[in-house]
Symmetry: C2
Subunit: 670 residues, 2 copies
């Protein structure tokens, strides 16, 4: 009654892959048997499915089991009191529910699953001998069973499973529902994929909606001849799209906070909300705990240590950023310029193609190298959370892609000052990148899937001898096992597939914004391609890939800053384009001194606005102090509070839930 | 035991001015007598002092009286739970204490005093007849006594009183302590004057400290000859002071948040902290309450109404801002330019002086007019709180002063392109403004005070007939009565004297930053003048003026944005100055087309960065919903929570207080 939807539907949400039993007879101490027994002991429902080469354990947990795990983990959840308290089973009524009525979000559920599965330890007090097909190994007292099995290679993989019922629903309402172009069932996406992916699709939808205005405007600018006022058209178009972009980003922030309010996520958008970060506890701060213990209770020393630590971490990060920026400017920029220059010089088409092929190979390698270097640098940094590290990677890698994508076009624009060929280049690039990404999104996962299936079948054939005809793969879980994961093309350690999708979007936005004056029609192209993009991304997530691991972040994070940066850049580049346009004979002279001063001014303006992001507005010790004091007190009173609140809220909860339903329906427009 | 410092010192903190009794004999129903009796009934301590022409009622309230008033007012205070709860007498241990150990801040105390004094109503059920020197009037049932007496002219004034003990302490440690140049007893200032003034002086101190670096650099740049590298000196100076200014403002934010942490003010610096704003309740939001009641509980309608209301308020504000900007550009700019132009054309010194005198008279009038128009416009706006309205005034009036102060200098710089005369103008302006403000700060209040004293003495003399020699003013409260209040030069309705002090500082900062390349030595002048500024401002507050009314804000608010704007402006102006410097023969040509594009680019860059301040990041309905839900639940549990917390915290409080003491000592450096 308390959890879920009243009558609980058992959903297997996690799968483990174990070897298939070879001999038929039951063996004493078989490790898979032990695992299944232990899982059931912990209150989970296990379903065993035998596949071609492996066996699959599908695990489900009723809400009581999840609740106990959440209480053990002290997962902080927003309560009706307005503060986040650690979850307790007795007070479950006091916690806000998800928009779909369940108590835990997918992110929280997955955390509980992991805790439950990895929490199986040997409590017997003595070592237990486990067997697998004759091989024996020992499960030491106090050791985690799953970790042991993983290191022995028994558990090959563990991955989240699709929920077939909800997946089909989403497929129908979302991925294949072409008629409501940018309207998406965001709440369903949130409860199925988690906050991060929900926010991404909401952003994509809003961006596409807003694109209609500049698309129309661009169409008019391109098509209509304004006669004697023609010379004013492009500057006004420039001004309006800059205003449009700035307003769009500002309204996106509003929409994001409306989303979080609907999803009951207590993540304030400001920079200084240490202890309210999505139920993560104080311990997620990077400051080493034992270090604090050593210092003891002396406030002054602790503060000083914090300050030293903060500056130490900051210095490291700063050094890395400088390293990345310098190497992009000194190594990548000349390379890209050289390619652009040679490409422009060559007259034979055949050599051009060869050159481009070589170039593409080299940048593939370079990008991967850059990603690896970035990940190594980030691993040496001290960052506050996984999301912070992921953002750090995004900034660094985006620098690489930025140079790669736009330098050639800039070079072309400045060299030729010819808008017609520039337009051709832009159309080429836009279409090529659209085709490239669609292929990458659509076919690559399917090829991977087919290859894995083929290999498994071949293995089965060679094992089982000549069988009759094709071997069918019957079980859904095995099909999912063959599907590739939602992973990033570079920096897999820190990011998932959202990285590529967001990168594609940001590069597109940069392309259409930075060269807006050269090719106003690009906005219309982008709008059309984004409507497709929503479907292909949705299909990828729902059909061709495994269900992605849920992530905690509730904003688009670093990407917002990158978009802001692109808007500022496009103010500068469009000004340069306008200069080229009005000065096609090259009569305008600019003194080198004046040019130097202008460049210095622009760099300083960028620095001024960048600096506010570099230095945090709140010292680390202030935040740490607040978090420590508050959580101590809150935890002290948690149980008492929850018990007293829970009873009275039980009646309130029902009406509130109905209200939420109502609210959800009409808060789509923020 | 519970309040204050254990042994409570009775401090009279509010004074009321009533007419002196003419006849000696006691009269039945004398209104002053009734007032004193009622005040005493409410638990206050009243001290009656007879002055020259008036009688003074000095009112003090023991902490129990204040506590009851705070509980009646439901003043929200931060608790050790991390949330703000309405104050309750039973749970007083659970609330954080002020750095000086008392339970209420000066702002909260003053609010309680007002509540206590204005809360005296006629509960008899029938009208009471009051008398004053034969005149009779009626105190209706349920009417507030003090309001009645105010409207009858019996209570002439009510003003906060200085606390002689603390005032002398501050005078010694702060205003007259010339040796620790920029170190100020900020905590004492905070507890005596409230958060806003404390923050202002902390800002002034930090600014003066940070000024040492550019002062030294400017000195070196001005004095040392770098030989062949001389042409690089000014650009590098430019870059370093811009970086310095940006860093200073960022570090000020850190310092501010450290201050708030020390003072236990739960004001998060981010934009979206509706319900945490300094103990102000939801009701302080401008949305009309009865409007909500009419709508009832329907969520969707309420949300829509909120949105409509938000956009309505926003449109009004936007219209006003546009009006102000347009009128400044179209009316003030030509006037200032005309003055600058005529001034430059005239060769005779005598005419120059006459012209300047006329100009000064006119701008006095114009500024006052501008202030009045701004206040009228703001009164038609719908703003969230008093501080928001004050900020709105600051932006509008600063626009006026900005034009007034800098346009003449710009004109001079662009016309003559001569750095020597520009320097002379800057020195003149800096010194004149310093002298002007010091005179305004120092002498004007003293003159006002002397005049009022003189008038009172004269009146006394004419009344009492020829007396022997001078009449001495013995009572301290009467002296304070003669002192002028801490009021703004324009917009008195919305701002107090902090406006003038902050304006002076901002104008100085603009002057030294925007023309940094022309006169690097200005930073040293500013540093010296600021060390004096701290003392004169302190003396003004402690000696020549009445104690100011405490204010709620805990940041420098609008001024921070103005300083940020000045930094951006100074990037542009210094670039222009550098162009003038390197192009003294005027050989550099700039095409009109290029110039137009450059101007458009700069305007767009400014707009881009301004826009994020114009559109709030969180929709009003999200904030209102959160605030409503949270406060409802919190209030429901408030009593229960406090009672259970209070007992256990009583022991904890003592140790924590000691720790705070420690912390305070060493968190001066943020």
């Amino acid at each position: 009654m308390n959890g879920g939807n009243g009558k609980e539907r058992i959903v297997h949400e996690v799968a483990m892959v174990v070897p298939k039993r070879i001999r038929e007879e039951e063996e004493e101490g078989d490790c898979v048997e032990v695992l299944v027994t232990e899982l059931k002991k912990r209150g989970m429902v296990v379903d065993r499915v035998v596949g071609l080469a492996d066996e699959f354990l599908k695990v489900a947990a009723p809400w009581e089991t999840l609740g106990n795990a959440a209480a053990e983990l002290h997962i902080r959840k927003p309560t009706r009191l307005g503060i986040d308290l650690p979850f307790e089973m007795q007070g479950s009524e006091a916690f806000f529910r998800q928009p779909d009525g369940s108590l835990f979000s997918w992110f929280e559920r997955f955390r509980c699953y992991q805790h439950l599965i990895y929490g199986i330890v040997n409590c017997e007090g003595y070592d237990v001998t486990l067997k697998l097909d004759g091989r024996e190994f020992c499960w030491a007292a106090g050791e985690s069973l799953v970790r042991r099995l993983e290191s022995e290679g028994v558990i090959k993989q563990m991955f989240p499973l699709h929920d077939e019922f909800k997946r089909k629903e989403l497929l129908q309402n979302w991925a294949l529902n072409w008629w409501n172009c940018t309207n998406q069932p965001i709440d369903q996406i949130y409860s199925y994929f988690g906050a991060k992916i929900g926010v991404y699709f909401s952003f994509l939808g809003m961006y596409t909606q807003w694109l209609i205005f500049p698309a129309l405007l661009g169409f008019i600018v391109q098509m209509v001849d304004f006669g004697s006022l023609q010379f004013l058209v492009l500057p006004s178009f420039f001004v309006s799209i800059i205003l449009w972009a700035a307003l769009f980003l500002q309204f996106w922030k509003r929409k994001n906070s409306a989303l979080l309010a609907r999803w009951q996520i207590n993540y304030l958008v400001g920079p200084s909300q240490g202890y309210r970060f999505l139920g993560m506890e104080w311990s997620s701060l990077p400051f080493p705990k034992d270090f604090i213990k050593k210092i003891g209770n002396e406030r002054a020393q602790e503060k000083e240590a914090y300050q030293r630590y903060e500056w130490f971490a900051y210095r490291k990060r700063f050094r890395n950023d400088v390293l990345v920026i310098v190497s992009i400017i000194c190594l990548q920029l000349p390379f890209e310029l050289a390619y652009a220059h040679i490409y422009e010089m060559i007259t034979y088409d055949a050599i051009k193609y060869v050159l481009t092929a070589i170039y593409l190979l080299i940048i593939q390698y370079l990008t991967r190298l850059g990603g690896k270097v970035s990940v190594k640098l980030i691993n040496r940094e001290i960052n506050e959370s996984v999301e912070y590290r992921a953002n750090s990677l995004i900034y660094k890698v985006f620098g690489l892609y930025f140079m790669q994508t736009y330098i050639g076009i800039f070079y072309h624009a400045l060299l030729h000052r010819n808008f017609m060929t520039l337009r051709q280049v832009l159309i080429q690039r836009l279409i090529i990148s659209q085709v490239f990404w669609t292929l990458m999104d659509g076919s690559l996962p399917y090829l991977k899937y087919s290859y894995r299936k083929f290999r498994a079948r071949k293995k089965k054939k060679s094992e089982g001898g000549p069988s009759t005809g094709r071997i069918q793969i019957a079980s859904r879980v095995e099909k999912e096992y063959f599907k590739p994961t939602y992973s990033a093309s570079i920096g897999v350690e820190l990011e998932d597939g959202l990285f590529d999708d967001s990168l594609e979007l940001a590069l597109q936005f940069g392309m259409i914004m930075m060269f807006a004056c050269a090719f106003p029609l690009a906005f219309a192209l982008a709008a059309v391609s984004n409507v497709m993009e929503i479907r292909t991304n949705a299909l990828k997530l729902l059909v061709t890939l495994r269900r992605p691991l849920p992530r905690a972040a509730a904003t688009i994070g670093a990407w917002l800053n990158i978009w802001q940066f692109l808007v500022v850049m496009s103010i500068c580049t469009n000004s340069a384009l306008l200069v080229c346009l009005y000065d096609q004979e090259g009569k305008w002279k600019i003194e080198p001194g004046l040019a130097a001063i202008l460049i210095m001014e622009h760099v300083l303006l960028l620095l001024k606005f960048g600096l506010s992001r570099l230095v945090p507005e709140e010292p680390a010790w202030v935040r740490a102090n607040r978090v420590k004091n508050v959580t101590q007190a809150q935890d002290m009173y948690c149980k008492q509070l929850l018990r007293s609140m829970s009873g009275e809220f039980a009646s309130l909860a029902k009406t509130q839930q109905e209200q939420q339903q109502q609210q959800r329906q009409d808060s789509e427009q923020f």
